[in-house]
């Protein structure tokens, strides 16, 4: 029997992820030629700085959506971690301790979600909408409408400065490392197989010895911890710890993941597609901002892209099946 049904170049190029990458390239070219100042040297720098939180959170989100679950509480964890980090700084603690405690708190937030979903058997959509409100409430409750500012410049510079003379911020290295870790985790380890198998058939995964509950718990803990890390970054990047930091960021994260080709039903997705999805949203955002479009309109565009990315594959899939087999429609 042949190992592969199609030659390697077809397997590499004719994928859902390649489509996103193609759209990203086109969007970049269009933006560079149409939008005033898009091809300036600062674009890349700001693009990376701006998309960093979305990119970070999108990595574990890819795995969670890969299992057919979702975590909508991520932006609230960003807020809670931002506040925690700010308060710890106010209390006179150092960067390392603040970072560590915030990330641990994020992991605990994720563990609460994960325990309710995995061991409580509750739908993640309901659980994390609940904790979205809960964690945001805690964040705002802790700090009220005030903000902690005045972080040492050495801290805030670390979040924004560039690598030598290049346009790339230092954090690019960290982002690349995390992308690599998640790509290996999803695509080259038994754990990644568990994730996608759970998304494809939870029952069959269980019969193959996959500990579904433990896997889900781990994913939510990861999501919480990485969201908290993004929260610390967010705080230093804007030099301000506030309870309402990153409100609504989950929309961008979910949109990026789905644009990147991850199936909302689980079982399908790749990290390189998601990275392209994140960058696509980043490019749209910065192009529109350069055109002085308001945040509200940008959200409308991202929301529309989200809907399209969910609907398009269904329509395309439906058309393909219909063309191959006009008889389909009644199931089987």
């Amino acid at each position: 029997m042949r190992t592969h049904a199609r030659p390697w170049w077809q397997r590499a190029l004719l994928t859902r992820e390649m489509l996103t990458i193609l759209i990203l390239v086109v969007a970049w070219i269009v933006a560079a030629s149409v939008v005033q100042g898009f091809d300036g040297p600062l674009t890349i720098t700001y693009l990376v700085l701006d998309v960093a939180p979305v990119l970070l959170i999108a990595l574990p989100m890819t795995l969670i959506i890969g299992t057919g679950e979702i975590d909508l509480s991520v932006a609230s964890v960003v807020g809670l971690s931002s506040v925690t980090f700010g308060l710890l700084y106010q209390a006179g603690l150092g960067l390392g301790v603040g970072l560590l405690v915030s990330v641990l708190l994020g992991a605990v937030c994720g563990a609460v979600n994960g325990a309710l979903v995995a061991y409580g058997g509750l739908p993640s959509l309901a659980v994390t909408i609940g904790s979205l409100a809960l964690y945001r409430g805690l964040a705002v409750g802790l700090l009220g409408t005030t903000a902690v500012t005045g972080f040492p410049e050495s801290w805030t510079d670390g979040a924004t400065e560039n690598l030598g003379e290049s346009p790339y911020p230092v954090i690019t290295l960290g982002l690349l490392a995390l992308i690599a870790v998640f790509a290996v985790l999803l695509h080259a380890t038994p754990f990644g197989r568990n994730v996608l198998d759970i998304g494809r058939s939870r029952e069959a995964a269980r019969f193959s010895g996959v500990d579904v509950k433990r896997t889900l718990l781990i994913l939510f803990v990861l999501s919480g911890a990485v969201s908290a890390l993004a929260g610390v970054y967010y705080t230093l990047r804007y030099g301000s710890a506030r309870g309402d930091n990153a409100t609504g960021l989950e929309l961008q994260v979910v949109a990026a993941v789905l644009l990147g080709g991850v199936s909302i039903f689980g079982g399908r997705g790749a990290i390189h597609g998601v990275v392209a999805g994140v960058l696509l949203i980043g490019v749209l955002g910065s192009a529109l901002r350069l055109e002085s479009v308001t945040v509200n309109v940008i959200n409308i565009v991202i929301g529309a892209a989200l809907v399209v990315s969910v609907v398009a594959p269904r329509i395309a899939g439906g058309l393909r099946v219909r063309r191959r087999n006009p008889a389909v429609g009644q199931g089987t």
Binding site: A5, Q330, T332
Partner: protein
């Protein structure tokens, strides 16, 4: 009869899926008042042919006629309207609907004010189940039905259509002798009423028993059509496989060693009670019983995917943690479950991913510390599929290729999704996946469901050889000859209890059926007990 138009006439029907020619030249002529068998190896194109007649697939070429009228169905609904009822190989019910609702879906009887007449529906379902001789609650949801019960629901649905042509694609694959006999009664009734019936099965004794005409298919083509009385089973096998299959149940003698699996007082309220038994190294123990007796449930509890309320499972001297399949796997337990599509395979995944799925994620357990058996230990399972936690795609492909070869899996490619394989080939992949783990205890639930005669003999030979090397096998099969041919010992399960234990010598079909059937007196039931 010969001058009347046949109920169904197919000629030169072809169907391809991309590069895969599933059906090259399907030819089938079915007369009214006839039960026509369709036989052939796994992947011969039988189900594809059925799906074309049933309106699921559209043919690429050829003609299809019903009562002399050319037809070309655009969907299953059209086929149904035209009087074609199909029992598909893989039952697909709506899990959220009740059994009754599934049966009458889309054609619910209406009462006054055009409201659905639930009473009439339920009575209809009850009557169908009575005719089929099964005890199934018409009001229970379809979710969680066993494969056999799903099959029954499909059969009931198809029969209630009262069609002029009834096609049954391996309806008996999960049924035990009692249900099969009832089904045959119903089929004969239809035949006598002048309907045409097409019957697909890999059990040639059923073909001889039920059918009057038999068509053999091979590699998507028509091979022959004869009166059943004119061909021997051996001849049919030769035409299907292209060679003679020597013996169906070659039992290799083995020396029985120490107890490997011990089940003590296992209890699950409402499902099974006080189940205790041992399986020794080198021994094949059969679990016989009627559909719904609780055999699959026992195996699932032992494996840890289901919970039990009391009792314990001991493997190689260690008590397994209840409800933890990973622990069971680490201890060397394997379960080939009854439902390949929901439990056995991740159907969306490729052949090779499915074959490797347990081997690559198996937790290190006592199994890995030292070799137990000879040949098997150096077999493919010893190969590492990951280094430092990173998967090795080449090793994975090699493992999949090895096992696909050993079980003659036929698929488009190793990376083709399992959904594109024929039913029997999917079953072979489930077997491959578990045999590849080189288990110490192998529990198989309907291991050869839908597998053709040639490969079935190969599976039996493999199981027998592995047992001779020291594997402990627990075998559940509704196909009595399979159990009796393979097993050293037979445990009969009735209504959730082990009611009888028979040695190989004592285990005649009569003794097993007597013990398995409720209503038989206690004296009779225990008559054959050891």
């Amino acid at each position: 009869m010969p001058n009347a138009a046949p109920t169904l006439r197919l000629e030169g029907v072809a169907k391809s899926f991309g590069p895969v020619a599933a059906l090259r030249s399907g030819t089938l002529v079915v007369q009214p008042g006839s039960i026509h068998a369709l036989v052939g190896e796994n992947g011969a194109g039988k189900s594809t042919l059925v799906k074309i007649v049933g309106g699921v697939h559209r043919r690429d070429a050829g003609t299809v006629e019903l009562d002399g009228e050319p037809v070309d169905f655009a969907g299953p609904a059209e086929a149904k309207t035209a009087g074609v009822a199909v029992i598909h190989q893989e039952p697909a019910s709506f899990p959220d609907l009740t059994v009754t609702e599934n049966i009458f879906l889309g054609r619910e009887p209406l009462g006054s004010l055009r409201r659905i007449d639930r009473r009439a529906m339920r009575d209809g379902a009850r009557k169908l189940f009575r005719d089929l001789g099964v005890d199934l609650d018409p009001d229970r949801p379809a979710e969680g039905l066993s494969i056999a019960d799903q099959q029954i629901v499909e059969i009931a649905k198809a029969i209630s259509l009262d069609a002029r042509l009834l096609i049954m694609d391996e309806p008996t694959a999960a049924l035990s002798a009692v249900e099969v006999r009832r089904l045959f009664g119903v089929a004969r009734g239809l035949r006598d009423a002048g309907r045409a019936v097409v019957f697909i099965s890999h059990r040639l004794d059923e073909v001889a028993d039920l059918c009057d005409t038999v068509t053999v298919m091979r590699d998507g083509e028509h091979v022959s059509t004869d009166a059943v009385a004119d061909v021997t089973s051996d001849e049919l096998v030769r035409r299907m496989v292209g060679r003679a299959v020597s013996e169906l149940y070659p039992k290799v003698p083995s020396t029985v060693g120490e107890v490997v699996l011990r089940v003590e007082g296992l209890e699950s309220t409402g499902t099974f009670h006080d189940v205790s038994f041992d399986v020794r190294a080198g021994e094949i123990v059969g679990l016989a019983g009627l559909v719904g007796a609780g055999r699959s449930e026992i195996a699932r509890a032992v494996f840890g995917v289901d919970h039990y309320s009391a009792g314990r499972v001991v493997v190689g001297g260690r008590t397994l943690r209840p409800g933890d399949p990973a622990a069971a796997i680490a201890a060397g337990v394997a379960l080939v479950p009854e439902d390949r599509r929901l439990q056995g395979l991740v159907t969306e995944s490729s052949v090779s991913r499915n074959v490797s799925s347990v081997v690559l994620r198996r937790r290190r357990g006592p199994r890995d510390e030292g070799g137990v058996r000879g040949e098997g230990r150096e077999g493919p399972a010893r190969r590492r599929l990951a280094r430092l936690g990173i998967l090795l795609p080449d090793a994975e492909a090699r493992l999949a290729r090895d096992w696909s070869g050993r079980l003659s899996v036929k698929a488009g490619a190793l990376d083709a999704p399992a959904t594109t394989m024929s039913g029997g080939n999917q079953q072979k992949v489930v077997l491959a996946k578990w045999l590849a783990t080189d288990p110490k205890v192998l529990m198989v639930d309907e291991p050869t469901r839908g597998i053709d005669v040639g490969t079935k003999a190969e599976v039996h030979r493999l199981l027998s050889t592995l047992a001779a090397e020291g594997l402990a096998v627990l075998m559940i099969s509704s196909e009595l000859p399979e159990v009796l041919g393979m097993a050293d010992r037979v445990l009969v399960v009735r209504e959730g209890r082990i009611v009888s234990e028979l040695t190989r010598a004592e285990a005649t079909p009569e003794a097993v059926m007597r013990a398995a059937t409720p209503g038989a007196s206690a004296e009779q039931a225990s008559g054959g007990a050891a």
